[in-house]
């Protein structure tokens, strides 16, 4: 190596060292004081050791206004590249709050777009870690355009590669739309913040006083708005959860999720499943106990666990293969379908369908949640999303009815009519066009109108019992092929595993179209 060349190589390493410094030790210290890790520390936790390959580290912004020419740092506030999670490739960008507040300018956005393009071309998931003051105002329209380019890619790559957002700092104004467009959003409580208009603007316009955390903190979005899917206590836990989620996902739409043997026998007969449904039909139970009994031991990841709890959406495995679970939760709102749970379920169904993850539908649904509030909130168009998503989904779909399956809500939970490949019912199942009480009041109205007082009540009870005996059981539905078999709850796991085994070769041909028009 000549002296000159040695110098040049030395210069390269010097530049790299500078790029890795980000905003310098003081800014890094301040980041740590806030309980946050730096952009690079986060990448180190997210990826397998020594797998990160950085790209575009020498990018600088091109702004010469407002003194920005004196504030140029290598990398321009975002670290991008690729690496591995459990040996599988992923692309990552991590905003660096220590460099100009992680603000997004033209070149910063170009770096993000560049890694997204590479991820889409190579079919690997993208993980974006957001920690940014927002648009770099000094760069004006160029910064704004940067957001536009990111949103465009989030949208056109949707359904091609899984896209995950991790909000570990401020993410305000237009910036929030990137997480909103991606498949799953994680947030760290106490540091992650998301809102369109911040507390100061709200105060100025409406006079309302609200703290940033109250307005757009992690708990708000995990419980009230439903904007995020997973909430973590700190950066490290959050990134480990991202790794966990990736273990259920394929790398792209042509791939299958990894097969992970959890050591649970596919022939396990689960005794506990026969005791979950209470003797008293008026008692609720925890549908999660059913999920735990059926799925492979040791792994389940619930999305939007604290939002619209009347429906459960979760990933788990059956004989090592990832499945998506959509289950009514009788413990909350009687498991009735409402606006929020329809949105939650539909989005989950469409994600699973995009990425070849089979669907398990566990049904105990009394109907749609009645009330003026729900009607005014548009339960008609929101509820329609579930019908649409289930019908649209071509992945293997198996439905298990544990107890109630009434009316339109039974259809919305993926009945045979919406394309369920197999429908099983437990002996406790009640399938009917509506609940026995309501049905009797309609079909026997004339008879009941002719009676009065106690006699009327007695006859009504009799008719309800007759109706229940005749229709509210799984056998009437089985005689009409709405149910493929009535099964012992204890054999549910075995039936599902064998069912999905059969359905692995499922082929569906649909009429070619540009895309449908999903109700929104």
């Amino acid at each position: 190596m000549g002296a000159q060349q040695g110098d040049k190589i030395e210069q390269l390493h010097e530049r790299r060292r500078r790029a890795r410094e980000g905003g310098g030790p003081k800014k890094i210290e301040s980041q740590h004081k806030k309980g946050k890790l730096t952009a690079r520390e986060r990448i180190d936790i997210l990826l397998d050791p020594n797998t990160f390959v950085e790209l575009d580290p020498f990018v600088e912004h091109r702004c010469n206004e407002f003194g920005m020419e004196k504030n140029r740092l290598l990398g321009d506030g975002v670290v991008t590249g690729y690496g591995e999670v459990n040996g599988r490739k992923v692309a990552v960008f991590s905003q660096d709050f220590t460099v100009i507040g992680g603000s997004l300018g033209e070149m910063h956005a170009k770096k993000i777009c560049s890694i997204m393009d590479l991820a889409a071309k190579t079919g690997i998931p993208t993980i974006g870690i957001d920690d940014s003051g927002g648009a770099r105002i000094q760069e004006g329209l160029d910064a704004l355009s940067g957001y536009g380019q990111i949103f465009y890619r989030n949208s056109v790559y949707s359904g091609v590669i899984p896209q995950i957002s991790v909000v570990m700092g401020p993410c305000a104004g237009g910036a929030v739309y990137s997480p909103a467009l991606t498949d799953f959003t994680f947030m760290v409580e106490g540091s992650g913040l998301m809102f369109i208009t911040g507390p100061r603007v709200i105060k100025a316009v409406t006079g309302e006083e609200v703290s940033p955390e109250q307005l757009g903190g992690g708990r708000v979005h995990s419980q009230i708005s439903g904007n995020i899917d997973f909430l973590a206590n700190d950066d490290e836990q959050c990134l480990k959860m991202v790794r966990g989620l990736l273990s259920y996902l394929p790398s792209n739409n042509l791939d299958q999720a990894p097969l992970i043997d959890m050591g649970d026998s596919p022939d396990r007969w689960d005794e506990k499943l026969s005791t979950i449904i209470p003797e008293n039909p008026r008692r609720p139970y925890d549908m999660k106990d059913v999920i735990i009994g059926i799925m492979d031991r040791g792994g389940m990841m619930e999305s939007k666990a604290e939002f619209a709890k009347n429906i459960i959406t979760a990933f788990a495995r059956l004989n090592g293969r990832a499945v998506g679970i959509i289950a009514n939760q009788p413990q909350f709102l009687a498991g009735a379908l409402d606006v929020n749970c329809s949105d939650k379920a539909s989005r989950f169904i469409r994600f699973c369908d995009s990425f070849n993850i089979p669907l398990v539908n566990l049904v105990d649904v009394p109907g749609y949640l009645p009330g003026v509030e729900q009607e005014y909130a548009g339960i008609i168009r929101h509820g329609a999303k579930m019908l649409y998503s289930y019908s649209e989904a071509t992945v293997p779909k198996i439905t298990v009815i544990t107890r109630k399956a009434y009316g339109g809500s039974y259809l919305a939970m993926c009945s045979k009519d919406l394309g369920a490949d197999l429908v099983y019912a437990w002996p406790t199942a009640e399938l009917a066009v509506m609940g026995p009480e309501g049905a009797v009041d309609i079909v026997s109205r004339k008879e009941l109108e002719g009676l009065e007082g106690e006699e009327k009540m007695k006859r009504r009870t009799e008719l309800i019992d007759e109706y229940r005996e005749k229709f509210a059981n799984p056998y009437y539905g089985s005689s009409r092929l709405h149910i493929d078999d009535v099964i012992d709850p204890r054999e549910t796991r075995i039936r599902l595993i064998r069912g999905f085994d059969l359905l692995r070769g499922k082929r569906v041909s649909r009429i070619k179209k540009k895309h449908g028009n999903m109700p929104l």
């Binding site: 599988r88 409580e189 903190g217 836990q237 992970i260 039909p281 008026r282 792994g299 619930e302 009645p370």
Partner: protein
């Protein structure tokens, strides 16, 4: 339909290949020890827009009340029983505190959002 020319042991064959469907993608196999076990014991404390109160989660009938003014209540403790849609569900406190007032009587019909209990 695509045509290929294949040579085997000096003999030339012309073959037509028709793609009848996309191939099953290869499966990635990981072993169980690599499956990350995820800790998700995250904070479940409720965000309260309304203050220190418990409201009816949906419309229905209050069929039982388990607390009275002055009682200390923990998070996760059932405070009343609501019958709705033919199910008897516990209304569970998402707060810890001392009950100031119970705003409903047994047998009362409530709408979603109606005040059930306020804390001191």
């Amino acid at each position: 339909m695509r045509r290929f020319r294949v040579e085997i042991d000096g003999k030339v064959f012309e073959v037509k290949v028709e793609e009848v469907g996309s191939e099953e993608p290869p499966e990635v196999k990981l072993v169980a020890s690599e499956a990350p076990r995820v800790e998700t014991n995250i904070s479940k404390q409720k965000v309260k827009a309304e203050g220190n109160i418990i409201v009816a989660p949906m419309m229905g009938t209050i069929i039982d009340i388990f607390v009275k003014p002055g009682d200390k209540v923990k998070e996760g403790q059932p405070v009343a029983k609501l019958e709705a849609m033919k199910l008897e569900m516990d209304i569970v406190s998402d707060l810890r505190g001392k009950v100031a007032e119970v705003h409903v009587k047994k047998g009362a019909s409530v709408q979603s959002g109606d005040l059930i209990i306020s804390f001191e």
